[in-house]
Symmetry: C2
Subunit: 108 residues, 2 copies
């Protein structure tokens, strides 16, 4: 089904940016306002908003407005699983590279 591939592609594209990953990580411990994120990320508030709006449009985040502040949360906890599996894939690659280096050292 093409729709499924397109959905997944959009989802992964939304995750394909370091700042957005940092935001998701910060939100993994609970909801945060834009300014809290902005201080933690040390980038312009409008840049934070831009990235948030990308993830909102892809349905990754929920926004709750209270007064002048907007609190963001990760909509689906499975997003956290994606991030932790990505970390595991990274660790596997490091492990593989280490084994290759050792195997090479044994040849000397």
């Amino acid at each position: 089904m093409a729709a499924m591939h397109d959905f997944k592609a959009e989802l992964f594209k939304a995750l394909g940016h370091p700042t957005r990953l940092r935001i998701l990580e910060l939100l993994s411990t609970g909801e945060k306002t834009v300014s809290e994120l902005q201080i933690a990320l040390e980038i312009e508030a409008s840049s934070v908003s831009q990235q948030l709006s990308i993830m909102r449009s892809r349905q990754l985040l929920d926004a709750r407005k209270n007064g002048t502040k907007v609190f963001y949360t990760v909509r689906d906890p499975l997003i956290g699983n994606l991030l932790s599996i990505a970390r595991q894939i990274f660790e596997n690659q490091v492990t593989n590279m280490n084994s290759m280096l050792e195997a090479e050292r044994d040849l000397d």
Copy 2:
């Protein structure tokens, strides 16, 4: 750690394209040659090669050459987990939308 976010971003970017997702799906049942993929995908052989080379450079795929053919495999089975979690996220969104529609219907 910035390196981790960058790695993950590159990984997710590599997954952020419908054709590449279709390739990974085809490879999930075992290794395939470029021409097998090309026939299944119904796109130019050189386009298949382009997408394969992107995933190879991100370490997602392994290539094994035999004669004039090249057999590709998914390097880390965890990639399959990423895809199936993405599917679950899709299903959750559909479920949510259905509940919202029902809730709205009850108001009429």
